[in-house]
């Protein structure tokens, strides 16, 4: 037991060290690179906490896509004059804030230590009701059946965030495509990677979705992987960014929540409650929702990373 405990102690110490370093590092770009490493280490912590689904999500979205987003921003802002930069707080202020955060940490640590010993858990209830959802993976059961309203609202959050990002574009670029003009001449190494990796990525993404019903995996993780592959292809110039006003793109974006909503409303008639699934068809319905959800999540995550339209619309 002590070997595992030692490994966990080292892992936790490393995660804290990298986190502290990203805060105190002087140069923003280095801090963001540190953050990406931190995201991957965190995925390892999630594996140690026996949560493979969350480890996948953390690696794919927390470390990966968020890392790409922040790296892109750091690269664009490198060397430009800071904007909306408050004045650097003096030593006294830093001390006060440090003490405040210390108190918060101490309170949290005390609460964690004082948590009730027979930890209150809903695992037995979830296990008991899992069979009626027809899904093997309990987390997919919670996301798609028990707390389906959370997942539905969350997909509407993604769509609203995308509308918010698109609404930041100057008016004359509305209708155009996000991302800068065609890359000057992408490196052939990148083009090679962009030709080799996406097929593998797509296969793994679809596998993640399919296996998500019974094993760790799921639509969000698969969607994030597909988004990564799409971004890679676009960075290498192999794929062009879709125009914002393209009807097909809008339908793919809205299809995720719309199908979920339609099946939920059908629950009124077929299974006596909103977002309830008729007993026999629970699994196929959930799979349909997950497939459409994955496409919508892949498109939304990719477009969120690419940002508002930056090119005039081609008439």
């Amino acid at each position: 037991m002590t070997l595992a405990w030692a490994f966990d102690a080292i892992l936790a110490a490393t995660v804290l060290a990298v986190a502290a370093w990203t805060i105190v590092a002087r140069e923003t770009f280095a801090a963001v690179v540190g953050f990406v490493a931190y995201g991957l280490l965190l995925a390892l912590v999630w594996v140690r906490l026996a949560a493979p689904d969350v480890a996948l999500t953390e690696a794919a979205i927390g470390g990966g896509v968020t890392g790409v987003l922040l790296l892109g921003a750091a690269a664009r802002l490198r060397g430009t004059a800071g904007v909306l930069v408050d004045e650097r707080p003096g030593a006294a202020m830093r001390l006060v804030v440090g003490v405040l955060c210390g108190i918060v940490t101490a309170a949290l640590a005390a609460t964690v230590l004082l948590l009730p010993d027979p930890a209150p858990t809903l695992a037995p209830e979830a296990a008991a009701n899992l069979t009626t959802t027809g899904v093997g993976n309990p987390i997919t059961g919670v996301l798609m059946a028990f707390r389906a309203l959370d997942t539905l609202l969350e997909k509407v959050v993604l769509v609203l965030a995308l509308i918010g990002v698109w609404s930041l574009a100057p008016d004359r670029f509305w209708g155009g495509a996000p991302g800068p003009e065609r890359r000057a001449q992408p490196d052939d190494a990148l083009v090679f990677l962009a030709r080799l990796l996406p097929p593998v990525g797509i296969v793994i993404g679809v596998y993640l979705l399919w296996v998500g019903a019974d094993e760790p995996g799921g639509a969000f993780q698969g969607g994030a992987l597909l988004a990564a592959m799409w971004l890679l292809a676009m960075m290498a110039g192999l794929a062009t960014a879709p125009a914002v006003s393209e009807r097909r793109l809008r339908l793919v974006l809205v299809a995720g929540p719309a199908v979920f909503l339609a099946i939920g409303l059908a629950g009124f008639a077929l299974a006596d409650a909103f977002l309830a699934y008729p007993e026999a068809y629970a699994k196929p319905l959930i799979i349909i929702i997950e497939v459409v959800k994955m496409l919508a999540v892949a498109a939304t995550l990719g477009l969120l990373v690419m940002g508002p339209p930056e090119r005039p619309p081609q008439r």
């Binding site: 190494a189 990148l190 990677l193 990796l197 593998v200």
Partner: protein
């Protein structure tokens, strides 16, 4: 038989660890970006290969072993491409410290 496999695993993994160490030392000691890149990519890929080799006998069944090898190949491809990209940027920017 399993004893021999265990010894083999221990040897391979420790060799892998040694190469990782060499790569890190190279990263710290070498003067400029290009040589560091060289050290890092070569040593770490070899180190990972040895670790994977060491884990193969312990993997659960052929599928597990195949997954390990696929992981190694993907890392090889990614590391190779990324190091070329960084090298090209390093050349354009000039030998920064």
């Amino acid at each position: 038989m399993s004893l021999a496999l265990d010894i083999f695993s221990v040897l391979a993994i420790s060799a892998g660890a040694f190469f990782f160490l060499a790569g890190t030392v190279g990263l710290l000691r070498f003067p400029d970006a290009l040589t560091r890149l060289h050290a890092l990519t070569k040593a770490d890929n070899l180190g990972l290969g040895l670790v994977v080799l060491g884990l193969l006998p312990r993997a659960d069944g052929a599928l597990g072993a195949l997954k390990l090898v696929v992981v190694w190949v993907l890392v090889l491809v990614a590391a190779g491409t990324v190091s070329q990209l960084i090298a090209r940027v390093a050349q354009r920017v000039g030998p920064s410290p």
